[in-house]
Symmetry: C2
Subunit: 203 residues, 2 copies
């Protein structure tokens, strides 16, 4: 009865979101290929037929999970107020969104990583991943270029600095579980502070 009650409470959009959130959680500790529809149904407290009502097959579900995770982050970033006086401009909002969303991003990068290390590259998934990284790099690069144009930052290679900052952020998330270091907020703030020190004009 509890299950039926739970099912009644959610409208289709909420149910879809719940399924994708549960799938993303399972992906944190398991390769998506080894997660069964039955297992996911159990985690959602629904029957397996309902999953197939929302997603034709597991392939569609896994791609929708990645899409959901990325969009969710990008929407959170877009919704964040952009403080014109923030030292890193929109990049400060990006880093703040990253800190806020750290638990979800940990799951998202695990899913990205599982797609990335697959023997057969999945073009559709990797295109979504590319879109995410392009947005991150571009946000960082623009913020650095604006600071240089304003004379607040010294002349640096903005493309390289943005790329290396994006790589360092990756190190926090992808490497955290192996390093047993889950202080994502602290590490991300340190990356930001060191970046600002790097960009500071001498004197």
């Amino acid at each position: 009865m509890a299950k039926t009650a739970a099912r009644k409470r959610l409208d289709p959009a909420e149910r879809r979101t719940q399924i994708l959130d549960e799938m993303l959680k399972l992906c944190a500790n398991q390769h998506f290929a080894s997660i069964t529809m039955r297992q996911l149904a159990g985690a959602c407290g629904v029957n397996i037929a309902l999953l197939y009502h929302y997603f034709d097959n597991k392939d569609v579900l896994v791609h929708a999970t990645l899409r959901h995770a990325i969009d969710d982050f990008l929407v959170a970033f877009d919704d964040l107020p952009k403080d014109a006086d923030a030292p890193l401009g929109a990049a400060d909002a990006w880093i703040a969104a990253t800190i806020d969303a750290a638990p979800r991003l940990t799951r998202m990068v695990k899913l990205m990583s599982d797609f990335g290390t697959q023997e057969n590259r999945d073009a559709e998934a990797l295109a979504m991943v590319d879109e995410f990284y392009a947005r991150e790099r571009e946000t960082l690069r623009q913020a650095i270029l604006e600071g240089i144009a304003d004379g607040r930052f010294r002349q640096v290679d903005a493309e390289r600095t943005a790329r290396l900052t994006s790589i360092a952020i990756d190190g926090v998330f992808y490497g955290g579980p192996a390093r047993n270091d889950f202080d994502h907020g602290g590490n991300l703030r340190d990356i930001r502070d060191q970046l600002l020190e790097f960009l500071a004009r001498p004197g």
Copy 2:
């Protein structure tokens, strides 16, 4: 007959190394939990009984694979000549070893990551991983402290800078497959160059 000939060629130490190398290769594209002893035997061109002659069970084998990968890197680093005039001292040798060993390190961090994201934390494996990172951070930290003591580098928080550099190196390896960016050499050289710029005294 080919298999028999191959088996005769290797002495026990070589055979053990071959098995561990093949296992490490399989770990690059598969979670270690889903690799079967049969699959590994096939990859090595030996029969499954021989694997059990060297390793009592898969758990022992997987731990030996991680140990092998880490030791292999540390030996390569220790063997590398340390150029007293290198701007980053021993850390330059560390980064050079990392560039040289990039394909193997990609496999090693995938294995580390699979241990790190397991639901049940594996204390033995994580202790080996910790040992590797402690060595990396300490090598970087010492090199930075020496440069500060010599007056070549400005005063920075050596612990933080070493930790963030280690995290950025992680980003190159762990994040590479998802970002579809396999220019490990280029990215590592950029991290080194940016670090030296960060450490440079103004003027």
